[in-house]
Amino acid sequence: MPETILVVAEQHAGKLNRVSWETVAGAQAIAAEMGWQVEAALAGNGIAAAAAELAGKKVGKVYAVESPALADYTPDGFAAALKQFITDKKPHLVLMPHTYQVRDFAPKLATSLGRCLIPDCIGYKKDGNRLLFTRQMFQGKFAADVSFAGEPPYFATFQNGAFRGDKAEAGSAPAPVETITAKVDAAAIRTKPHEWFKEAKQAVDLTQAEIIVSVGRGIKEQKNIDLAKQLADSLGGELAASRPICDSGWLPMDRQVGSSGQTVAPKLYLALGISGAIQRIVGMKGSRTIIAVNKDAEAPIFEIADYGVVGNLFDVVPALIEEVKKAKS
């Protein structure tokens, strides 16, 4: 029997989280290279439709791990259900997307089985018979190849964007779906989750902007924000910021781009003094053209920029404002 990779997909209110396709694609690629097989599992309550959707992909089998106690996500409930399931099925490798929900329960699940997971991977490498996982370290300044020691099951999670979800291969026929009734004791769930909500409606819709000038911590002081504002105005664009700028209250939250802010895809995205952390990049990598100004030639933002300027933004931006004004007049 070949080893099994188990993909634990994610759903919310019965709807599959699209990032699950990326994990399926990653698992398929690893399986092809290692000669392993892929199965998928989904935990929740009333998830038959989402499980059927998963079964459309080229996987050996889909398990719907169901219990009324899993209707709302809780770390206690999900870890307990998946612990039973994994103990029972003994997969070699368990792969999950590195979502907020997975961050919340996966380390607990792995620990309950005496294992330590490799989180937030961006890829994998076959090294002889070994499988290595690649992940970012030091906020993307370095990458590391990481191996597992000890006994399976091994656990790893993949960063958003590590694989292309649209590359997840479809099966020639739907995979069989097996419903497993998880024995989860509702009384043993210690946390009580409430409904999801959004904060007050956003005043600025950055998703519609064609030009975005975005500032990061390189702007140094609140009073310097005005410099970026002038550039945005001269270009007829919107001003946006990285999270630390909004956390500091230098710009309102609704100007934040990233995994906990808005996702934008303008024609032009100008990044000033932004390092390019992944939580930021997921919010803007779809931009048509990215221009980055950063004093650090090694800043990860240059990994995704089309044009890069290694330099002090306080020298470059005033000159750029002048030049844009000239060009427009």
């Binding site: 330590c116 989180p119 590391a144 190849d145 191996s147 030049e323 060009a327």
Partner: protein, 256 residues
């Protein structure tokens, strides 16, 4: 409330990092600071203590240099500190660090343990959750607000794409704190002075060794990532750079 805050010392954000000769870790001759979300975790603990009374204890694992983050925390108002002191702690995997912390506090009774939601060096984002599981406590991650209730606490969890969620949790519990949950304070001169007389307990590796196993995840190689995208670098004096950018904006990007 008695709150333990886990602090980690990491390279300073702007520090130029270099690989060591073995290509397995960075050269350690850089400046360090406290991991950013951990600073918010400490601030939140101090605020909770100011509201509800109790004690704030800080803990770190690392070589002698890591004591600095404890000293700063004591200066900001933490009551006492625990230092798991050994350079070997730096290379433990997440489950082993959590096991070391659990062993170090086995005789204590905390109501809450705070960690930052992830560290700026490894970025494993799991030490707090693992610690909760080892202690048999409930937990919640990526926390943006904490409110004490008659029984337990209500926390605000950050979710993806601008969503949030309140969760009720009984105590004791572990919370991983998100940057931006509050506004950080600075240490005062009096605080810095008082910190010198606050207790700092040192624990050696040998005292927690029996709780720790072999690492289950191993960094084989650390390296500068290869670029996958070709970035066209624009060079010159600021005025030249500005001209070249405007040319691109006009001719290639077509937004001017």
């Amino acid at each position: 409330m008695k709150i333990l805050v886990c602090l980690k010392q990491v390279p300073q954000k702007d520090a130029p990092l270099k690989l060591n000769e073995a290509g397995a870790w960075i050269r350690e001759d850089v400046s360090y600071e406290v991991n950013e979300p951990d600073a918010y975790a400490l601030e939140e603990a101090l605020r909770q203590k100011e509201k509800h009374g109790g004690e704030v204890v800080v803990i770190t694992a690392g070589p002698a240099r890591a004591q600095q983050v404890l000293r700063e925390a004591l200066a900001k108002g933490a009551d006492r500190a625990i230092h798991l002191e050994d350079a070997a702690f730096v290379s433990l995997d997440a489950i082993n660090i959590a096991r070391a912390f659990a062993a170090a506090i086995k005789d204590e009774t905390f109501d809450l343990i705070f960690t930052g939601l992830q560290s700026d060096d490894y970025g494993y984002a799991q030490t707090g959750v693992i610690l909760a599981e080892l202690l048999g406590w409930p937990h919640a991650t990526i926390i943006m607000h904490i409110e004490k209730q008659d029984s337990g606490i209500r926390v605000k969890r950050e979710l993806e794409a601008g969503y949030f969620q309140y969760v009720d949790i009984p105590l004791p519990a572990v919370l991983t704190i998100q940057s931006g949950i509050n506004k950080l304070r600075y240490a005062t001169l009096i605080g810095i002075k008082q910190a010198k007389n606050k207790p700092l307990r040192k624990i050696g590796l040998s005292e927690v060794q029996s709780a720790i196993g072999g690492n289950q995840i191993k960094i084989e190689k650390l390296y500068v990532p290869q670029k996958s995208k070709k970035t066209e670098m624009i060079e010159g004096a600021p005025a030249e750079i500005a001209k070249k950018i405007v040319d691109h904006l006009r001719n290639d990007v077509r937004v001017l």
